[in-house]
Amino acid sequence: MNRYTKQIGHKPMIIAAGILFLAYPFLIQLFVEDTTFLLTMGFDICRFAALACSWNVIGGFGRQISWTHSAFLGIGAYTSMLMFMRLNTSPWIGMLAGMLVAGVLALLIGAPTFKLNGVFFSLATIATCQIVRLLLLNYDKFTGGASGLIPPYQEGTHLWAMKFDSGPMYYYLMFLCMVACQVVMILVDRSRLGYYLKAISNDQIAAESLGIKSHHVKMKALVISAMMASAVGTIFAFKNRFIEPDTMVSHDLSLRIGVTVILGGIATIWGPIIGAVVLVPVLQITYAYGQNFFNAGLSQILYGMILILLVIFLPNGLLSLKDKFAKQPGEKRNGDGGELPAGPAEHTRKAVQKDGTQ
């Protein structure tokens, strides 16, 4: 333990949170008879937290604000589901296969897009997400197209098929996935890759002048991030037991993943989970109970307002609120700049960065 060791955070709080998460399926039984809604919400909290962790690696540490992550989720879903339905492969293996495919997709997407700067990168990732969705939609003989894929029904619990009889099992599975993603993200933060990513995101030219190979670093980060999102996609697909392109791969979902991280605190260790814990219940509860208001638009209006208020009043996310009470502001150990990336200076709009020449 020296000054190079990064602190994880308030250990008692983390343990308390962990206990809450583990006890959740039981706790909710104290409040409601039918736990379906709350259990699904719990599943979604874990799902978005895991996805947020994956996004944080490239979007937070690397400040490469990408809006393409739902494509990785979709790849994980489709790879594993297709292998299950066509090749009778267990989704557990399918998950690994999906991660591989997602990694390849990350390389394909990263190669051209990382050459672009700032807003052009963001726009390009919006485009790549749509391309993936449209490809899935179009080659329907292979993917089932718009009608989607439904695996044959199986009664009861089949572990090898990732089919569980009880709702809480899926919740715990996604919880485990979330923990795994959180751990991977923390490991990246503390690793050389994490240091290089943050250097690049602060000043790419200075980083390169020291010898950091920015392209390799970004690609590594995107591949890791994609694999995490893909794993989440597999679990999501097999819980729903129905997948189709528009819900698996969508711009709205990609946006939501990034927003979850930014809401919690971009590039921070606990921002992703905090963002998910706040955003998912707010949106799902207002959606469920707001059906009669405003032709069911209430939830989305709230979401939009949250986005607007977030950007204007709290661009560093919820975690930055704690700094208002911190004893020594500014001495953040994890290099949490926190600020929404301004990208290159506003008036330099060179889309392509040629080897650092500006």
Binding site: V119, A124, I126, L134, V259, I262, M305, R349, A351
Partner: protein
């Protein structure tokens, strides 16, 4: 043979629609460099505004007669949106713009849904199915009208930006805000004017599109990403480029859609988008060297 030419012309006409919407986005994204993901929603509001006015006047006026009224309403709305939502985040970076305009688009879509329900609405138009016959080619009349309005708007805006004091002031603000301020340009006012114009053009587009598209809250999403591609293809801030960019996108989309697959048509456009950003970041129609921003 006729099918190919018809496809090209259909593509040009739909390209005219994109170009029309792109004029507004060029003002906001091309000139002011504000990444506006809500432009499609502004078009949607223009359509609903036309719808409301149409019914207010007892369904007696055509959408074209209502155009000036819609334009004024959208101009005012643009100013309000700029002052309330955009100004607080000016200079805070592209991601801030993306998030706030995304938020705005969700709010606007669902406000529309709240007021009008998600059902398709229509503005009755006598010329909805009318078409001009040119040789063996059929040209949808409402699209032709939209096309010509696009041409007129492009020329007017081009002239405005090049030859009027306000226009030049707006351009100088987009190139360098700090220096413009030092030179005495009222930067805040320029932003409001340019943004409001961009919203107004979106509203005008919406009005002109009512004979062509049905009106529903999410109609904006049909155009959003495509129109971004158009503006980038044309070169940021290059109004004439945006026009030709629109035509190109329309033709590509229509060709791929007709001969290959409807689903892949937008994908082809997005691919073109990425390729152009990589190879010609200043746009396909950039004038040599001078305009680097």
């Amino acid at each position: 043979m006729i099918t190919a030419i018809q496809t090209i012309f259909n593509g040009l006409l739909i390209g005219g629609v994109y170009a029309l919407i792109a004029v507004g986005l060029t003002m906001i994204f091309g000139v002011l460099k504000i990444v506006n993901l809500a432009q499609g929603e502004f078009v949607m509001i223009g359509m609903y505004a036309t719808f409301v006015l149409f019914n207010l006047f007892g369904q007696s006026a055509t959408s074209y007669m209502l155009l000036p009224l819609v334009a004024i309403i959208m101009l005012a709305l643009g100013a309000v949106i700029m002052i309330v939502f955009i100004r607080p985040v000016l200079g805070k970076g592209d991601t801030a713009y993306i998030l706030i305009t995304s938020g705005l688009s969700f709010v606007l879509q669902n406000l529309a849904q709240g007021f009008f329900t998600a059902n398709y609405q229509f503005v009755k138009s006598d010329i909805k199915t009318a078409s001009l016959k040119l040789g063996g080619i059929y040209l949808s009349l409402p699209k032709v009208i939209a096309f010509f309005v696009a041409v007129v708007l492009v020329l007017l805006v081009s002239l405005f930006l090049k030859s009027t004091d306000t226009g030049r002031a707006i351009r100088s603000v987009s190139i360098d805000r700090a220096v413009s301020q030092m030179l005495g340009v009222n930067v805040a006012k320029m932003y409001i004017i340019a943004f409001s114009l961009g919203v107004m053009f979106a509203g005008i587009s919406g009005c002109l599109l009512t004979p062509i598209y049905s009106i529903y809250p999410r109609i904006g999403t049909v155009f959003s990403t495509t129109v971004f591609a158009v503006v980038v293809l044309g070169g940021l801030g290059n109004i004439k480029g945006a026009f030709f960019g629109g035509l190109l996108v329309g033709v590509v989309e229509n060709f791929v859609g007709t001969y290959y697959s409807m689903n892949l048509a937008p994908a082809a456009v997005f691919l073109l988008f990425i390729v152009v950003m990589l190879l010609r970041p200043d746009g396909l129609f950039a004038k040599g060297g001078a305009r680097k921003a």
